[in-house]
Symmetry: C2
Subunit: 441 residues, 2 copies
Amino acid sequence: MQDEVLKRVKPSPEDRSRLLEASNIILSQIDKLAKERGLSLKAMLVGSAARDTWLAGDHDLDIFLGVSPDADITAALEVARLVSPEYEEKYAEHAYVHAKVNGFDVDLVPCYLVDDPAHLKSAVDRTPFHTKYVSSRIVGREDDVLLLKQFMKGVGVYGSELKVGGFSGYLTELLVLSYGSFAEVLRAASGWKACEFLDPEGHGKLEHAEPLVVVDPVDPKRNVAAALTSDKMQQFASASRSFLVAPSLDFFFPAKVMPLSDEELLGLINRRGSQIILVDFQAPRVVEDILYPQLYKAEESAKALLERNGFRLLRSDAGSYRDRAFLLLEMEVWELSRVSRRTGPPVSEAEHISRFLAAHDKPLSGPYIAEGRVMVEVPRQYTRAEDLLAAQIGNLALGKHLSGAIRGGHNMLVGPQVAEIKDDCFRTILARYFLAKQRVG
Amino acid sequence: MQDEVLKRVKPSPEDRSRLLEASNIILSQIDKLAKERGLSLKAMLVGSAARDTWLAGDHDLDIFLGVSPDADITAALEVARLVSPEYEEKYAEHAYVHAKVNGFDVDLVPCYLVDDPAHLKSAVDRTPFHTKYVSSRIVGREDDVLLLKQFMKGVGVYGSELKVGGFSGYLTELLVLSYGSFAEVLRAASGWKACEFLDPEGHGKLEHAEPLVVVDPVDPKRNVAAALTSDKMQQFASASRSFLVAPSLDFFFPAKVMPLSDEELLGLINRRGSQIILVDFQAPRVVEDILYPQLYKAEESAKALLERNGFRLLRSDAGSYRDRAFLLLEMEVWELSRVSRRTGPPVSEAEHISRFLAAHDKPLSGPYIAEGRVMVEVPRQYTRAEDLLAAQIGNLALGKHLSGAIRGGHNMLVGPQVAEIKDDCFRTILARYFLAKQRVG
């Protein structure tokens, strides 16, 4: 089975030479541009392309433009901008350039050439050290890395971007180096508990709150698995167990999820008999690592608002498609009685009680004593979840960019109205949401 | 104010002589009947009538027919049956007779004449000792007892029958004897905490779980306040506080609650915007002290069933009117999504997981991992509270008599259908339920 997988994910010699050729062209172009400007600048291919651990079909190149720690890094950014006419500037911790060159997606990232990862000036300065550490050690085990990456992709846990919260490429490489092979990683992961500790270079115990701690061989203070969420870690452990019991190609190549047709979507909404509330709005123009934490935070705030007011959620989601972003709230309880019980002070606190009674002097029922406290029954303001959310969405704890985007205008679609969004990408996200199928065992 | 109250609740000299006359006639009638039969039987007036602590308008006489502990008590019951042609036989711990004589409601209760309450053969054997204990001590404080009884009636905590769970007449007398006066009882009660202990004769600490413990002067092992619920105790404490701050006649004589008209009832149901589910059935022919514990138990079982299945109650009630009994369940959440989440085993328990997955092999969504556990989403059987209750009411933990009565046939009325019951007594119960107003402070 591993051969079958490798046949599909291992780059061919032609793929490899095309990639190296493209990379070399860009590297020498950068050298030339730097020389013309009298800049001391070292261009390097880093990441999986440099380590021969990239998956076929993956056309990403990571090229770093290193400058001396005391040099002006903006000159490197200037050079990056000139590599291709087809580029856009992005911003993570620092600015970088995303360009299209000969069909490759190229990230051109300025960094400082520090002598030791202990002296980083920016997080990206660590990457050249990772490449150096892995390149020499991984030789002969590249296929295991490819298998592990594809397995993780297939079961939905690959990618350390905050949208996913899964395993980074570097982490998969360290796992293969630590355990020896793809199969051994799966066997080890099968036995993972809620907290695991790995220390490839024996740097010693780190204090970390994360579920998986992998001490970075090149930077002992850093947890390589810091971005991994507990859910994704457990998903991987569970999928590993399941695969070892009954291996199948489906783990690597799950059936493609197709966008839902109107009919399928309305059928699902009807069968579930829940109430779906969708808040759809223009996505702010920021990278996903900035957008997604804000989306997830907004999702949590909306849930908390609804549950605090007595409604109940079945599940929820947040995401983006093309230039739009959305919150999806699926309600198990979306309608409440108008009358609601307000719990007052314990019966013995006479002073608090008079204040409580004064604040509720015309209740629908009460005051009466129950469970040792004074109670009144008063009308609640919002009896339907969507009304509460519509009224309060502007007051939620939203991130900086999302706050403006949502307040700037949003559509709230309820139940079958969700079908008004015809976008295929969105309909695929919905299909995945309704399926919610993971490999567990 | 106390004079004003006494003017209305203290029996006039004419009332008193009429009561004593009626009592004497019955007592000598019993003597005669016993003699005719050669029975050794002592007839006694007991209870509040014997102690001059009965409220005007109250036409109850408690007459006990005492026999020697080794005699046959059924002979006394035989005599009781002959006192009045207008009688019915009732049954508490033992059989007794309820008769109508000259406009009085007379309970004719056979008992054993034990030498000491430590040697009771039946709970009622204690009553003559209570009368003896109180009669000699209460002289001069009868008015305080009347005030306290009327106050407790007014605020809804008078009566130790299980339907009410409040204060017995004997308990009010002991409170007046302990604290000295009506006003002092209220002052003391104002300071009551969750647990209080009173021991008029210094018999020593009793181990009791009840909120209020009053050691019976005539039977040190007995808690006179055993039937008092925590809610009623706190209600009395709170009402006392409230009265002492702002005394008013309303505490003694609250406005009469009138039966709701169709229009009022439908208006209230509409304003509350809740869902009322009423289960109405033929009351089993048992005394209230047997009926009510079963009704309250059925109420709790129905609530537990509904809440266990995800519905939520605002409040509930159970009761009886004429020959009917009912459970009333007022729902805050009465409709749920068809889809429901089923929580499976923790992700690490592989064996349990395979069984869980096998039991849910065609879920609507999932399996997926959340909160460290495997989850699936499956359709729930009942999405509406009334459907669940209708299907499961026969399986509830119901008391012996109620079980037959409910299974034998019941009406389930939902929302405005409740107005189909036109009975004034029921409509008054509903009016009180919706008002739910207690004196608190």
